[in-house]
Symmetry: C2
Subunit: 441 residues, 2 copies
């Protein structure tokens, strides 16, 4: 009996694409066992066809499979699975849609296109009876996508807390443990390959927001609009607050992606958040990532590992390829689907409506009246103070003193209004730092 062969076309030969080819070349036995046949890379499309590709690969490599014409994959009827690895919103989204419309299954690691066009891509999969798998789009090789969508499917998901971006977690870890400034930590991350030359998507929290949207869409079986996710990055974070909170409050700063279900509403936000140094998420350091998911039945579940990198990301991509290839060989790939979406929309809470705890740092002139004025404004907005520190170290000028306040659970709107009023107090300098604190975390 001759082996079944599943043919794949790979779009994009960057870091992840190279990793996929390395792994496929290394696991012939596993492919046979898991899929019942072989996997053939029939075509690779890349803009850079003139690169000396042979030298990139530690094995014999037929350069005729490389092309710069996307139609060589999208219009080839022999190709069963399109593996989209160019990233970004477009043209990646068009390629994914065209592949599905061309009755090809799709495996992708592209969180940006998935997050922005979640509904359109999943509908194209459903309408065309072709599978779309995307394990590597969130937490690379850590199987959180399948785990959330299938392994935890019996749960009503209460909360998701994610450290979903390796670059920012690396930077915040260096600031916390080695007292780097933000700028020095970013430079080191770039040097070590943990941050890109233009780190905007990572630093500004957009990458984490893409991933949060995917996790939340799976958890709540809803289509969610990317613009409904509140996003705040880490570029204004000051080492002072990281050090102070660790030493005095036992808190550790993370760029935290948060999803919380409250009755019929969903809270969805990415921002710097202080968590307890004793929580397991506080031990997720450097380029490591984690998703901490709380289900009503399973309780606390954490998925942890490397959230990026050539082989970790390729691990997720190839595992998806193996699973789709197995279904193709069993003749069932067109008879099932991966994601089930509920058609009704879900209400996403405006950031002003959320309630959480807050860390607030002000610089005040050393005046007797300052503190009572500040606490009086906070009282007016029903903000209850949990702790209050007047810090000895003079951070800015000879005349100002840092005052750090933590609050009990308060409404974001109230905190914003209070801060606005406090800014106008004559003893208070202009810059006020406000960072959310996650209760019970």
């Amino acid at each position: 009996m001759s082996d079944k062969v599943v043919k794949i076309g790979i779009i994009g030969l960057g870091t992840v694409g190279k990793g996929v080819i390395k792994i496929l070349n290394n696991i012939e036995d596993i492919i046979k066992l898991k899929t019942g046949g072989k996997i053939e890379v029939k075509k690779i499309v890349t803009r850079n066809i003139s690169k000396p590709w042979q030298s990139f690969f530690p094995f014999k490599f037929d350069s005729s499979i490389i092309s710069n014409n996307i139609d060589d994959i999208l219009l080839d009827d022999e190709i069963d699975i399109v593996v989209e690895l160019i990233g970004g919103y477009n043209p990646a989204k068009d390629y994914i849609i065209k592949a599905l419309e061309g009755k090809k299954h799709v495996v992708t690691a592209n969180k940006a296109a998935l997050a922005k066009y979640w509904n359109e891509i999943n509908n194209a999969s459903r309408v065309n009876n072709c599978l779309i798998y995307f394990e590597a789009s969130v937490l690379a090789g850590i199987p959180v996508i399948q785990g959330l969508n299938e392994g935890l499917s019996s749960n009503k998901i209460e909360k998701i807390y994610g450290i979903l971006n390796g670059t920012t977690n690396y930077i915040l870890t260096k600031m916390l443990l080695e007292k780097y400034s933000f700028q020095d930590a970013l430079s080191l991350a770039q040097e070590k390959g943990f941050a890109e030359a233009d780190p905007t998507f990572d630093i500004d929290g957009i990458d984490a927001a893409h991933k949060l949207l995917i996790l939340a869409s799976l958890a709540y079986q809803k289509s969610i609009d990317l613009k409904d996710v509140y996003i705040e990055g880490i570029k204004d974070i000051d080492l002072f607050d990281i050090k102070f909170a660790k030493e005095n409050l036992g808190l550790v700063l993370k760029l935290l992606a948060v999803a919380k279900k409250k009755e019929d509403s969903l809270e969805l936000r990415v921002s710097p958040v202080f968590i307890s140094e004793n929580h397991l998420l506080a031990s997720v350091n450097n380029e490591y990532n984690a998703a901490f998911i709380i289900g009503d039945a399973a309780g606390d579940v954490m998925f942890y590992g490397k959230g990026a990198g050539e082989l970790p990301a390729a691990s997720g991509v190839v595992s998806d390829i193996l699973y789709v290839a197995k279904n193709i060989n069993n003749g069932i790939a067109n008879k099932t689907n991966f994601v089930s979406l509920n058609e009704t929309k879900i209400n996403i809470l405006n950031i002003n409506e959320i309630e959480t705890r807050y860390y607030i740092r002000l610089e005040v002139l050393d005046s007797v009246g300052a503190l009572s004025s500040i606490t009086s404004v906070m009282g007016k907005y029903n903000i209850s103070i949990a702790s209050f520190y007047q810090h000895n170290y003079n951070s800015n000028s000879k005349e100002s003193i840092p005052v750090i306040i933590t609050t009990h659970i308060s409404k974001e709107k109230d905190v914003k209004n209070a801060i606005k009023e406090i800014k106008d107090l004559k003893f208070v300098l202009n810059k006020i730092i406000v960072i959310r604190i996650e209760e019970n975390l």
Copy 2:
């Protein structure tokens, strides 16, 4: 269009069985969305049909579905999925096999039957083209089974470290953090419902060995004999060693399940093992469990959460039911399989052949010659000493002193031979404690 209905029969109405019924009753919308239809509990078989079952359930419950006759499930052609929740080797295994032979799909949480009859049960699934799913058998609701079998399928798994038993982890945590003796910690665990009246399977490491066998069989796609897994429990653990190692060596004791691939051999063992207090596994406390899996592509991946309990275990069971029901409704449940096994056997290393680091505690009479005799015996067996402590506290008698030695990586056989010889030294009291230390963990 009338809804598709998948009918299930549940064997066993203990803790997990009750949890399954509670969850199914609570997630009608999710069932509809994930499976495209409904799930009907057609029959529940339990020995205790005379119990006032209605009072157990917070909802209306037709008592005619309860029976004490297993054939009411196994011989009912309308039942699509048999959910086996009685646990233990037999008759559970017979029920599973008969269900599969009767062309029913099976969902089970039974690690004992799976571990002992892994090959037989998986063959019955394959031969009869019926699915067997068992997410809850290891780490309850944490989706490590599917994650290892599918999400990490592109990886050659290098190592698995598991804290797989909640009872023993609870006991060891109480000893470490609150200085309980083993016996007091066990009593507390029983009081809190974390240990059974007869805790033998947990305390002796057998439960963890069952789970390790399942994980290793999936990771290496091999059928493994339970008797080839080396098993050592925690009932002889002394609080002294836990305290000493934490305070002086920065080590934390866990009942650790270990699988390591070395060329064509596999090391498989469950025993108390010291790990670094800085490793993430050292923070897995109380009844929480975790599997730390190292793949050649994905790198370090950890799955963490509650490894037991009514709803956590039922979470895994119901997620499996939903997945199988979806496949049934899509008409593909008989056209695929879950586990792929490689027919060739794998060589399991004898415990004497393993190499690791060791913690050794001796009681010596305060004699100048003792220490040089001990180190001389160790040198004879090529055991290189990493650290050496002569402890001031006199643990046993006025005349003996505890001596604690840690070794560099040594062969287990050499350590056993050395200990045998050291026992015969006239300055050394009879009881010698030997505990493995995991390098790099």
